[in-house]
């Protein structure tokens, strides 16, 4: 039943104009409503995604349309030690940073789930690292990691006296890698903590009361109540976190730009260096395309976690 039939029935009401009737046509309205969003996403997301895959198989350079070269870009990358270094560091960076973020974030969420004074203020403060532009906080970290004037070195050497020499945060391979991971964890903790806190607040307190009556220890309550009930939300947050850590660009670009000696390149920064800065669009696109399998894996992970959640709650698909 539509409004149009109603207007025919009540004669007293003025007849809608043809424009009004057009806007009451459901198919037209659906089309009109979806047009901006779907149009934008098609032109600036779906099309470039396809174009990127096509570019990866060409030798396009900036200012020159490319020829189809088949798997040449990928064959070249497979023999490129720098590419493998970037793959290794991307995986390592994602694994360690995700582990750190979730361990510390879960801890922070459990702390915040207690009865605290000024809780909402505390929550607002904790989210700050997540709000502030990543690049700008990365520059602050860059300054904190300065070889000569690092405040951390000053604390360790001159105040606490636990070291004789200043830290060389960004000067050599492994310290630079760990420093970037630390900065990433710092930025990721708030998001994880606040999301998991929301999950914790949905767990019914009566479960804990029952467990307490049965004489459970704090660890047992965490292991058998908190953790399993938090698992679905944990899986989703983790998927997002993995995707956005793996494709991270800003932190590395701002702090080290891939150095020292290309040891801290992630796949995204390498793609930028080759594709935009170096002008080899085809090769850059090939590196970006090489990230897709990892992302598909993470998405499937999310899908199955969601399915499991619905099954756990015994709820129909709505």
């Amino acid at each position: 039943m539509t409004a149009a039939t109603l207007t025919d029935w009540t004669r007293t009401r003025p007849q809608p104009t043809w424009l009004g009737r057009l806007f009451d046509n459901k198919a037209f309205l659906v089309f009109l409503c979806l047009l901006p969003a779907v149009g934008l996403l098609t032109v600036f997301l779906t099309y470039p995604l396809g174009l990127g895959i096509w570019l990866a198989f060409t030798d396009t350079k900036i200012g020159r349309t490319g020829q189809w070269v088949g798997w040449e870009n990928f064959e070249y990358l497979l023999e490129d030690p720098l590419f493998w270094k970037a793959v290794f560091y991307s995986v390592f960076y994602t694994a360690v940073a995700t582990f750190g973020k979730f361990a510390l974030g879960l801890w922070l969420a459990l702390l915040l789930n207690n009865h605290l004074p000024m809780k909402s203020l505390l929550r607002a403060i904790i989210l700050l690292p997540w709000i502030v532009p990543t690049v700008l906080s990365a520059i602050a970290f860059w300054w904190i990691y300065d070889p000569q004037f690092s405040i951390l070195s000053y604390l360790a050497v001159d105040v606490l006296g636990i070291r004789d020499t200043y830290f060389d945060f960004l000067g050599s391979t492994w310290p630079a890698r760990w420093s970037l991971i630390a900065a990433n964890i710092w930025r990721g903790i708030p998001f994880v903590a606040i999301s998991l806190l929301a999950g914790l607040q949905t767990i019914s307190p009566s479960l804990y009361e029952a467990a307490l009556l049965d004489g459970s220890s704090a660890w047992q309550r965490f292991r058998y109540i908190t953790f399993p009930l938090l698992l679905p939300i944990l899986a989703i947050v983790m998927t997002f976190s993995i995707i956005f850590t793996f494709t991270d660009f800003q932190l590395v670009y701002a702090i080290t730009r891939g150095g020292p000696v290309n040891s801290t390149h992630l796949m995204a920064t390498l793609a930028f260096q080759r594709g935009i800065a170096g002008g080899e669009l085809g090769e850059g696109a090939a590196i970006a395309v090489a990230m897709i399998p990892f992302l598909v894996f993470a998405t499937l992970f999310s899908y199955f976690a969601l399915a499991r959640r619905k099954w756990q709650q015994g709820e129909a698909n709505d």
């Binding site: 409004a3 997301l45 929550r123 990543t134 906080s137 000569q148 009361e209």
Partner: protein
């Protein structure tokens, strides 16, 4: 599903306290297990901001001399760095550009997301689920794998090095999120209200404007804030699509224009970072609750 979560005020927090008032729970123990770690977290999370702030107000003599001055305090605060930033660089212009881009991208994304979410959730056409799923999947495509082909697309459309390149590309990561958030909001509005309006002879667009949108205002605010902060913070597109120095956005400009040579002007850099963070931090502080509810609501959906 937990669709009511997004808009709901924080009434739960007091009700869901883990029961821990047992005999063993002394004050001291609570102090050690909760307050001390919490204080450490807050200090570590805030330290970079403190350091940023204090560096931007220190004169250069203090900045590089930890022996004579306590590095954690300012001996004689100065506005030199900020003055230099505002009057000797194009910083005000970068701020204006960033603001313009963020506001336009937010507006565009909100408009298209409201319409899309309304169509998917309320008009209930055949295949609406799949459109919803497609938009959700779009959220999982990160900018890092798109920027190279997008750069060529932007170039082909003749938008390279103009603010439109950013205004039109930012919605690619804003629209999926906002749509998803608003679908959740529309779901929580009773359908009966719309049916009543339909029977009273309102058109679909009137219903959207007069009934659904006013009820979804909290959702709109959440989506708006989220979009604004995300577009303010965006980096990779802005780095790749904008070439001329005076058209850059703040995050990119600070990194590419202020860092020159081997000697870094840490005072100016930190002042730039501080000023670039302040607008979004202030904006956020007015709407913290909306922001938190959108963040957690989107995750729970």
């Amino acid at each position: 599903m937990t669709d009511a979560t997004a808009g709901q005020p924080e009434t739960q927090s007091t009700a869901t306290v883990v029961p821990e008032k047992m005999a063993w729970d002394s004050r001291a123990r609570r102090m050690v297990t909760i307050y001390v770690p919490l204080a450490c977290f807050v200090i570590i999370l805030l330290f970079p901001f403190y350091w940023m702030t204090i560096t931007s107000f220190k004169p250069n003599a203090e900045l590089y001399d930890y022996k004579r001055y306590n590095p954690f305090l300012i001996d004689s605060p100065t506005l030199d760095h900020i003055y230099k930033l505002l009057f000797e660089t194009a910083y005000p212009r970068w701020l204006m550009t960033t603001m313009l881009v963020a506001v336009c991208a937010t507006f565009l994304s909100l408009l298209s997301s409201v319409l899309a979410a309304y169509a998917i959730q309320r008009l209930r056409f055949k295949g609406s689920q799949y459109v919803g799923l497609g938009i959700y999947l779009a959220y999982l495509v990160p900018p890092s794998i798109l920027f190279i082909p997008l750069a060529t697309t932007v170039y082909q459309l003749g938008l390279f090095d103009t603010p439109f390149a950013l205004i039109l590309t930012y919605p690619t990561f804003l629209v999926p999120f906002c749509t998803w958030l608003l679908i959740g909001y529309f779901k929580s509005i009773p359908y009966e209200l719309e049916e009543c309006a339909l029977i009273d002879g309102a058109t679909r667009l009137q219903i959207l404007r007069r009934i659904t949108l006013p009820l979804a205002v909290p959702g709109l605010i959440s989506a708006g804030i989220f979009s604004f902060t995300l577009s303010w913070n965006e980096f990779i597109y802005s780095l790749a699509f904008i070439q001329s120095g005076e058209k850059k956005t703040v995050p990119v400009a600070i990194l590419t224009e202020l860092v020159s040579g081997d000697v870094y002007q840490w005072g100016a850099l930190m002042a730039g970072s501080l000023l670039g963070s302040l607008p979004v931090a202030i904006f956020y502080s007015f709407f913290v609750d909306y922001y938190v509810s959108s963040l957690t609501g989107a995750v729970k959906e």
